[in-house]
């Protein structure tokens, strides 16, 4: 009996750790949609590229550590995201059917980025060193310092992001745009600039996710699609555009995923996500929460 409870707690812990990464990635995906009304199909490819850039730094410099990797890669991802908005999305915006067009174009961008990764880094999967090596054993549970670090980073990003949204002028203007685009123009918010910032922040968040998950899994040219799909389901379940919903959905689904992997084996994980996705579409296409903020 004891061993059962211990295992179940272990599964929940592992679920919560994954949830913290899904949450920051989900918020990023939700953010671009809520603000700039673009569904970004290249999201998974940015995940991959975030991890590859980190790998590149580690393989070029033997003295490299995670602090420097974050300091270099996260801003780089931010600017990459802004550039994507300016170069790829901006000229299409507000033309007839532009939301479909931008979806197609970002899908094309995803193929381009995946193949660029393939050409640049080769088909062999790469891995990142662990953030920390030591395992912790609080109360008999195994919790690696690595996992703890992921959890702490994930939670602090969410908290920082929450403060940013509710306390800063730019954050407030992002909420404003998601609630009333015309109203935002009327009060003088430069919405085009804010669209670019939202792309930048979103890309930085997914790049963060890529770096955090890479030591657990492997980095490969198409490796971003799996996490992207999961995060998409998380966001759909929580309600596309809702931060609160994304947070709850990430916790619920990541814990479920951990139980599925534990109870039925890892090969049932993707079918589980598909089933959830179909369930959401069939029973509550709006997700748990409707609006953004």
């Amino acid at each position: 009996m004891d061993i059962w409870i211990q295992q179940i707690v272990q599964v929940i812990i592992s679920g919560i750790i994954t949830a913290s990464v899904y949450a920051i990635m989900g918020v990023g995906l939700s953010l671009i949609y809520g603000i700039s009304r673009v569904f970004n199909f290249a999201y998974g490819s940015f995940f991959t590229w975030g991890a590859y850039l980190a790998w590149l730094l580690f393989s070029l410099f033997s003295w490299m550590n995670y602090a420097i990797v974050f300091l270099v890669v996260i801003p780089a991802m931010f600017f990459l995201g802004m550039a994507t908005e300016v170069i790829v999305v901006r000229s299409l915006r507000w033309r007839p059917n532009w939301q479909v067009t931008t979806m197609m174009v970002t899908l094309g961008l995803a193929f381009f980025m995946d193949n660029m990764a393939h050409v640049t880094f080769g088909p062999m999967a790469k891995s990142l060193p662990r953030l920390f090596d030591a395992p912790l054993n609080p109360l008999g549970f195994t919790l690696s310092v690595q996992d703890l670090a992921i959890l702490i980073i994930g939670v602090s990003i969410m908290v920082t992001f929450g403060i940013f949204l509710s306390r800063t002028r730019l954050g407030l203007s992002m909420q404003a745009i998601s609630q009333d685009m015309t109203g935002s123009e009327i009060v003088g918010i430069p919405i085009r600039k804010v669209f670019s910032y939202s792309f930048g922040i979103s890309t930085a968040l997914v790049g963060m996710g890529g770096i955090l998950l890479a030591p657990r899994y492997f980095i490969s040219p198409l490796g971003g699609w799996g996490p992207f799909f999961r995060v998409f389901v998380v966001v759909a379940f929580g309600g596309l555009g809702s931060i609160k919903g994304t947070l709850y959905a990430a916790i619920i689904l990541a814990i479920f995923e951990a139980f599925v992997a534990w109870g039925f084996g890892a090969s049932w994980v993707m079918p589980f996500w598909f089933a959830v996705f179909l369930g959401v579409l069939a029973f509550r296409p709006r997700g748990l929460f409707g609006t953004w903020g």
């Binding site: 404003a176 609630q179 109203g183 123009e185 009327i186 009060v187 918010i189």
Partner: protein, 234 residues
């Protein structure tokens, strides 16, 4: 202060504004009247940059603003107050007002403008922590006006401020608009309830089918049979 030269605006295929020209002088309260669906709102949206005219020029304080985006126009002091409000429902009254002061010119005067807004609309100060979605029609209308003032407006283009309001609130709103105008902000007002604003108005312009059919001082307008017919229903 504001000059429109031969403005033509289309809504899709529909030619909504046809060759409209007029001037609004500094400090004026300029009233635009006309039947529903004859282009009044379209005209306001065109001059504040929400819609692009197909041809013509909008000149504000001597500068051409025809092709500028709304945020730039707001920064110059020309602010649109929409009939359908466009408040941010899930943000508080205070946050809505603060967003009004988004542009750099307004940030420096945020405190001063906020005091003025609360002096004009004391109830907003009372409700500052409530979500905008919980406000009544009259309060929401006051918030849209307050938000416009927060942008450091020198020119307010106000669209149907009485829309959906009970008569007593309507008169309150009109009085506040008059106060705002008396305090030095030029006002371009679109309004249906003409009889109630006529006291304050300096000039009147009648818009029909997207065309200006009358433009003149109030006294002149009252002598014009066609304007009288539209104004007072015959």
């Amino acid at each position: 202060m504001l000059e429109l030269q031969n403005i033509n605006t289309f809504y899709g295929e529909f030619h909504a504004i046809r060759d409209v020209s007029f001037k609004v002088g500094e400090g004026e309260l300029f009233l635009i009247v006309g039947p529903n669906g004859h282009g009044k709102s379209t005209l306001l949206k065109t001059l504040c940059g929400l819609l692009r005219p197909a041809s013509g020029h909008v000149i504000f304080n001597g500068r051409e603003i025809t092709k500028l985006f709304t945020d730039r126009i707001v920064k110059m002091g020309l602010v649109y107050v929409a009939e359908d409000r466009h408040l941010f429902p899930q943000l508080t009254v205070m946050q809505n007002l603060k967003l009004g002061a988004y542009n750099l010119n307004a940030r420096g005067k945020e405190k001063e403008n906020l005091d003025y807004v609360f002096q004009l609309f004391p109830s907003l100060s009372e409700f500052q922590d409530r979500h905008a979605s919980t406000l009544s029609g009259g309060e929401a209308r006051m918030l849209t006006l307050g938000r416009g003032i927060m942008s450091c407006a020198t020119f307010l283009a106000i669209d149907e401020p009485s829309f959906g309001l009970a008569p007593i609130l309507r008169n309150q709103v009109f009085n506040r608009i008059n106060d705002i105008n008396t305090n030095g902000i030029t006002v371009l007002l679109v309004e249906q309830n003409v009889t109630h604003v006529l006291d304050f108005v300096d000039r009147v312009c009648l818009l029909e089918d997207g065309r200006i059919v009358f433009d003149g001082a109030k006294a002149e307008a009252l002598l014009n049979d066609h304007v009288k017919e539209v104004f007072l229903g015959g």
